[in-house]
Amino acid sequence: MAARAHHLGDRGESAAEHWEAPFGTDQIHVAFALFASNEIALDTAREAAKQAYHEIGGISVQYHMDVGMMPDGRTHLGFRDGISNPYIDGSPFPPAFGHEGPVKSGEFLFGYPNESGQIMEGPSPAPLGHNGSYLSLRKLHICAAAYRRYVQEKATASLSAERIGAKMVGRWPSGTPLALSPEEDDTRLSEDESRINVFSYADDPKGFKCPISAHVRRAFPRDSLQDQVVDVNIHRLLRRSTVYGPALTKGVLEDDGHDRGIIFAGICTSLIRQYEFIKTEWLNGGNFVGLSTEQDPVTGNKDGEHTFTIPAKPLRHRLKEVPEFSITRGGEYFFIPSLTALRWLAEQAGQGPSDL
């Protein structure tokens, strides 16, 4: 990913030359992620992994991170994350409630037709690539204190700090979408899984409810790009992001020096058409919605105008000098093999599949 960093907008403090080792070096060969629903299950899995690791030669841990959702389920900016994900055609699970139809499985899995009708192929040979995916992994330091200071400094009688934050994200901290509740948070919506993600932008083309420049509207435009030739379905991403680092104490406005942020994880079969397109076309600039070089307020860097436009009547608000809230500490692209590919790999080495 270091070779793509400049293209992805990782400049200044986020540039690849500043990345935390081993990110940006050629020392990352394999990544291993353990997820569990509670600490006990995680410890059990961790012990099993340690055991296997000690039995294998020729591999050494270069980097280790403890990650996990915070108790309140929010990110370090105080917002609920990960509400929206594509519904994959052919999935055995019922769809989460959302406004859009299923997306072809080939957008996320190698060996199946994608939205263009083409079968995406991963690494060859076929037993290795089939049912696998690509992963974009990024460690993003989140400047929680800078965010809190900024929304407070910019608050006015008519635009509260919380409202400014909601306008930048496109949802209230609880997850209630501005598109459904533009004036205030509404827990009847955020606590109802059948409503929190069911909405359209079709009745809000100018962004008076949810700004055109808001993060969730940029990252997944839904039906808001009807006036241009673009196929939103070929630019979807399956997210499995998580959080790291201790929370900044509530109310604190100065950085405490702790590293905290998001581990962004986006899964797809075409890194260029899916992850990189979203980042370069929809987050790192505003031309696709006639906003010139305005960037996503949450992920933007110091290039471009660093303003944030809030459409309003009679006149729009433009927040100026939006700071960087996200600094890239490192990232990498990975191939995620399927279970059958893992067994095939193990067989190639002459070891049996053991207890996979």
Binding site: E115, S116, G117, Q118, D227, Q228, V229, V230, D231, N233, I234, R273, F277, T280, E281, N287, G290, S292
Partner: protein
Amino acid sequence: MSVGPTSHAQSNNAPQTSTSSEPQVISAGRSGLRLGQISELTIIAPLKPGGADRLREKLRQSAAHQQERMAKIATVHDMRFVIFDQDTRLLFATAYDGDWDTYIDDFGTQIPDLLNYFFEDVEEFPGIETPGAKDFIAKHQVTASGWYAAYPSQTVRDIWRGQRVVQAFNELIDAAQS
């Protein structure tokens, strides 16, 4: 390389630039040159027998609605179809926003009929929606040796918005003075 004006005269209303802030000509991606926001694409390809006449007729018939059709693409500053070499070859040249291949997949799923209509008279054109489309374009594309654009930081959408703003501003001033 960069070919451009060497004087800094402002009498022609050109925006002020200093040498350090002038954008540099870079690659537009797989092929072509890019200056600021604007890239060039030049394709030279053989036409099928009878293709020149068919294409000329198509272009003549579609001229009236070209603005409307292109408004949705909104990234093409200009484009020209030049039939030459005794009707055997087509030169297609365009200035457009962004990098070389960013939206080709979108064209392929959203407007394949429109694009194929204008390029199907080119020999071996595979169809914009096919996997071979990008390779076909790259095969026939010739990267320019010099590229200049008068407003390199302005995209098509920026220009259109600027036009609306100037018009609205003039109306406002007129109304205030009446």
